[in-house]
């Protein structure tokens, strides 16, 4: 009886799909999220499909989530309905979902595709599902997935712009072929999966919905109908599609389609359906021609001379910021404290110069800095001097935003007219400030530069982060800056790793000044350099500070550096300020025994 009962139950059961219902709902939810946030890669719990990951498992899951019995599915691979992968997927979808299948795009409601957008103009009735092998457009420029996630979250796309800049410098054209990165809806940079550049303009303000499924990397993203999709390129460097004006399909004669090798030196349409229909006279050629990206065919005459030497126009006077008289300071920091370890402010007792230690006797925490305060006016340079371990670099890192302090407040006149305590901002907001408000020069140039990137490219990173989008303007500006810091322009397009230490430091300084920041933070800017090279860099900095109304904080253990660059200085020992004053007074008439030791050391 149990056996009969079981077969009765089986008879009444529904058809088994490739996905259980829970998964289907989950993927549908992720897809909806993707539609709501165009271009954003929505993580989803990708299930294992009966096809290999890489063979369309992501596209298949998206298709299964959106498709229903009234739908008609078409599957293509390389534009071809009869490709083995397409065939395999189509029979699996139609076989389990009970929907219709077709090779005619006009009949299909859901088109799953690999590497192509169909030539047939799509309508609002269509859903295009693209199989995505690698969804991350930043993968090429950033290896850490966590960092890629951060860059998307903050809209921090300078790295990819720099890669385009470098590509142009080195190769004269942008060599990215398929999967071209695009900016979607003005917000997220998205990989177009490996569709050719030919198809990229077809996603821009298209009437149909495009869904992208990456099964292996567990991401779904979307371009909703009528959404802006802009290929990343500089304003003065035209985006190019494949092909030339002279090509045409050997089978149907089309000259406005994406062509592939057809054997025997012929080229033929990659979209076999379109090709056949054109040959049969069953295609709306006019509608197709309207949306073919013929205006983007390469025109070598319009290409920029990308590596052409930049001619310096007479260097304009550095932009002078109006000195706001109301703000007597550019930067104001008060009560800054940083405790590494347990106890926070409670760990401070028993530390400092009078106790001869920075280590809390109660908790063992290191009180790296405590109760540090000073302000810097526009056009003024303030020094922070002390031996290593005195806390001066900790203070600077807190100002830069690389460390979060235990106590204190930081105000910049350039941020909310000085109303906001910067220490209350999150890491993303702090990073943004480094683009145009703060210039930061680190002791080790390799920490502040990308060594594999050219000198010009390093400056381009700053400029593109600040929104510069003209290749020529970027090059011009980079050349001016490099000239100002006395880097020969003949080296502008060489990777920084081929530069000497002093030259790298000059590039770093040029980069820090690229966006005319109101505040410059210098951390031991000449320490790693040979004495003669250091002297040159010091001269340069002195000149730069004198000609700009930039406020500067200079950290050094070397009195000579502080004396050269600053008018006022703060002396730190064991995390505390022990003395402050006019720099020449500190040097000529040091009061604190510690300062006297520093001066004695500098006079030696």
């Amino acid at each position: 009886m149990i056996t009969e009962l079981l077969s009765e139950i089986d008879d009444s059961a529904g058809r088994a799909g490739l996905l259980d219902d829970g998964a289907r709902r989950e993927i549908r939810r992720a897809t909806l999220t993707a539609v709501c946030v165009p271009g954003y890669q929505v993580p989803f719990g990708s299930r294992e499909m009966p096809v290999a990951r890489g063979w369309g498992s992501g596209g298949l899951q998206v298709t299964l989530a959106v498709i229903g019995e009234p739908d008609t599915v078409k599957v293509i691979d390389q534009g071809d309905d009869a490709g083995v992968n397409a065939t395999n997927l189509r029979r699996m979808i139609a076989g389990t979902e009970g929907c219709e299948e077709s090779t005619d795009s006009r009949d299909a409601t859901v088109i799953q595709t690999r590497h192509r957008v169909p030539e047939q103009p799509l309508t609002a009735e269509h859903v295009l599902v693209l199989q995505v092998p690698v969804p991350e457009p930043l993968r090429g420029v950033e290896r850490s997935t966590a960092e890629c996630d951060r860059m998307h979250a903050e809209g921090d796309y300078a790295a990819i712009w720099v890669s385009l800049y470098e590509d142009l410098v080195r190769n004269g054209v942008i060599t990215r072929s398929t999967g071209y990165p695009v900016l979607v809806d003005g917000r997220y940079v998205m990989a177009t999966t490996p569709i050719p550049r030919w198809d990229v303009p077809r996603l821009h303000r298209s009437p149909h919905l495009s869904l992208f499924g990456a099964g292996r990397e567990k991401r779904i993203y979307a371009v909703p109908p009528d959404t802006d999709v802009e290929p990343l390129t500089f304003d003065d460097v035209p985006f190019e599609v494949e092909g030339g004006h002279e090509q045409q399909c050997a089978l149907c004669g089309s000259s406005d389609t994406f062509l592939v090798e057809g054997g025997g030196g012929r080229t033929i349409c990659s979209d076999t359906e379109w090709c056949a229909r054109v040959a049969e006279g069953d295609a709306d050629l006019e509608a197709h021609a309207k949306q073919a990206p013929l205006h983007l065919l390469p025109d070598p005459a319009r290409r920029v001379r990308t590596a052409a030497p930049v001619t310096l126009v007479a260097r304009p006077e550095p932009a002078r910021r109006p000195v706001v008289s109301a703000a007597e300071w550019t930067l104001q920091v008060a009560g800054l404290g940083k405790v590494h370890g347990l106890g926070g402010a409670d760990a401070v007792a028993g530390t400092g110069p009078e106790h001869g230690t920075a280590i809390s006797p109660t908790t063992g925490a290191i009180v790296a800095a405590w109760d540090v305060g000073f302000d810097v006016a526009p056009g003024e340079a303030v020094g922070l001097i002390g031996e290593s371990g005195s806390g001066k670099s900790t203070v600077l890192r807190c100002l830069v935003g690389e460390e979060s302090p235990t106590a204190g407040v930081l105000h910049l006149a350039a941020v909310d007219a000085g109303a906001t305590d910067l220490f209350t901002l999150d890491a993303a907001a702090r990073r943004k400030l480094r683009v145009d408000v703060l210039g930061y020069v680190q002791q080790d140039p390799s920490a502040g530069l990308s060594l594999n990137v050219s000198a010009g490219g390093n400056i381009a990173e700053r400029l593109t982060a600040a929104g510069w989008r003209s290749y020529h303007a970027i090059r011009q500006r980079a050349a001016e800056l490099l000239d100002r810091v006395e880097v020969p322009l003949s080296r502008m397009d060489d990777p920084v790793k081929t530069f000497s230490g002093g030259m790298r430091q000059r590039v770093q300084i040029a980069k820090a000044l690229a966006t005319d920041p109101a505040l410059l933070l210098l951390d031991e800017p000449t320490t790693g350099l040979d004495a003669s090279v250091a002297a040159g860099v010091l001269d340069l900095l002195r000149g730069l500070l004198a000609e700009r109304d930039v406020a500067a904080v200079v950290v050094s253990h070397d009195f000579a550096v502080i004396e050269t660059l600053t008018e006022r200085a703060v002396v730190m020992q064991l995390g505390r300020v022990v003395e402050h004053g006019l720099t020449d007074q500190l040097f000529a008439d040091p009061h604190h025994p510690y300062t006297q030791r520093l001066v004695a050391a500098a006079r030696r």
Binding site: A16, G17, D20, G22, P43, F44, G45, R47, E48, A52, R53, G54, W55, Q78, G79, D80, D81, A82, G83, V84, N85, T87, R114, H115, P133, V134, G140, S144, T145, A146, A159, V162, S163, E166, D167, R170, N171, G172, V173, T175, R176, S177, T178, G179, P194, P196, R197, R216, E240, E242, V260, E261, S270, T272, P300, R303, R305, A307, V453, D493
Partner: protein, 363 residues
């Protein structure tokens, strides 16, 4: 028109399928029944269960046969099958202390609490190839019953002794965060340790062992040989809540392999007065995998982010195998686009620099 030509794709696929079925299922040899496979290819079955992340011997055996012995392909079949199944329950938390051991060795100690139980292993047997002419003659011997004590079948773990001696760094916080479900949410760095452990538990064995060895000898390696505290293979009870009484009920047992690895801490900021402990556990009998997992667990804790990304994103056999397999798909559209750019570079007449490209594309 080649293999993806405009006509004939489906016919070729169907013919290939028929060919596989015929050669596999109708080879002129006796049929390999499911019990044959589970009994004679125990370790292959266990490996499939582990890498598929689904414990059921007959299912794994079916897949192993269908995949003609390709364990990764078999794991794929099992996982795709699992995608069609609902989740009936989440088990009550399993305490590995309850393991009934089938094998247990403690390399770090000569005479630990409980036995050094060799069990079913050929670790200590010369690897001499045997070439029997036919089935071995039946062995009628039935071992005489031996009284069993709980301490022998559920020995106290070696690390418990170290903990008593205060020789272990204590990572117990008392918090009980919800475990990360890698089958329902993608795990990306930064992720909780539960995500890393789950990823490793279903990782491809070779990938895990290779990654471990690379950390020993590879250019970016940063872990050193650890001392194994304990390796066990045994049965663990699986309990769910009884829907009527709400109390736990054991619905069966599953076999698993467990490893505890002792790390001799030597970092500047590490506690040199203590050891750290790495943990490995996987379905079935797969000592290589659980040992590599235990080593990588502690390495991930010590060396952090870059290893975490590797463990979360690169050791899954279906991911790596699938991506590799996809290279066999046609790529002539993308290739054509690449050729177009090669030609474009030539036409610019700009000097081309032989420097490292910044940013590589994956297609």
């Amino acid at each position: 028109m080649g293999y993806s030509g405009a006509r004939g794709g489906l016919e070729a696929i169907l013919a290939a399928e028929r060919h596989v079925r015929h050669e596999r299922d109708h080879a002129p040899v006796p049929w390999a029944g499911t019990e044959q496979i589970t009994a004679r290819f125990r370790l292959a079955v266990d490996r499939v269960m582990g890498e598929a992340g689904l414990y059921d011997e007959p299912t794994a055996a079916h897949a192993f046969r269908q995949a003609e012995g390709d364990t990764l392909e078999a794991a794929h079949l099992v996982r795709a099958h699992r995608s069609t199944l609902p989740r009936l329950a989440r088990s009550e938390p399993v305490d590995p202390d309850e393991m009934v051991v089938l094998r247990r060795i403690v390399p770090a100690h000569r005479t630990p609490d409980g036995p050094q139980l060799l069990g079913r292993t050929s670790d200590y047997t010369g690897r001499l190839l045997e070439r029997p002419d036919g089935p071995p003659s039946p062995n009628g011997q039935v071992p005489a019953p031996v009284a069993q004590a709980d301490g022998e079948r559920r020995p106290r773990r070696f690390s418990a002794m170290l903990r008593e001696m205060d020789l272990l760094v204590d990572h117990r916080t008392g918090a009980d965060p919800e475990p990360f479900d890698v089958t329902r949410r993608p795990a990306r760095p930064p992720a909780p340790r539960s995500a890393v452990l789950a990823s490793m538990a279903r990782a491809e064995t070779g990938a895990l062992v290779g990654l471990w060895y690379r950390s020993i000898l590879g250019p970016d390696g940063n872990i050193h040989e650890v001392t194994l505290g304990e390796v066990r293979h045994g049965r663990l009870p699986l309990r769910v809540r009884h829907p009527h009484t709400g109390r736990p009920v054991r619905i069966g047992t599953f076999r698993a392999t467990e490893t505890e690895a002792l790390e001799d801490l030597d970092g500047a900021e590490e506690d040199r007065a203590r050891f750290d402990l790495g943990y490995g556990l996987c379905f079935g009998h797969n000592e290589r995998k659980s040992i590599a997992m235990a080593n990588l667990d502690v390495a991930c804790r010590r060396f952090g982010a870059s290893l975490e990304q590797v463990l979360l994103l690169t050791i899954d056999g279906l991911d790596s195998g699938g991506f590799l397999e996809h290279l066999k798909l046609p790529h002539y559209v993308t290739f054509r686009s690449m050729v177009d750019r090669k030609l474009a570079v030539r036409t610019t007449g700009e000097r081309v620099r032989a420097t490292d490209p910044l940013g590589r594309d994956c297609r």
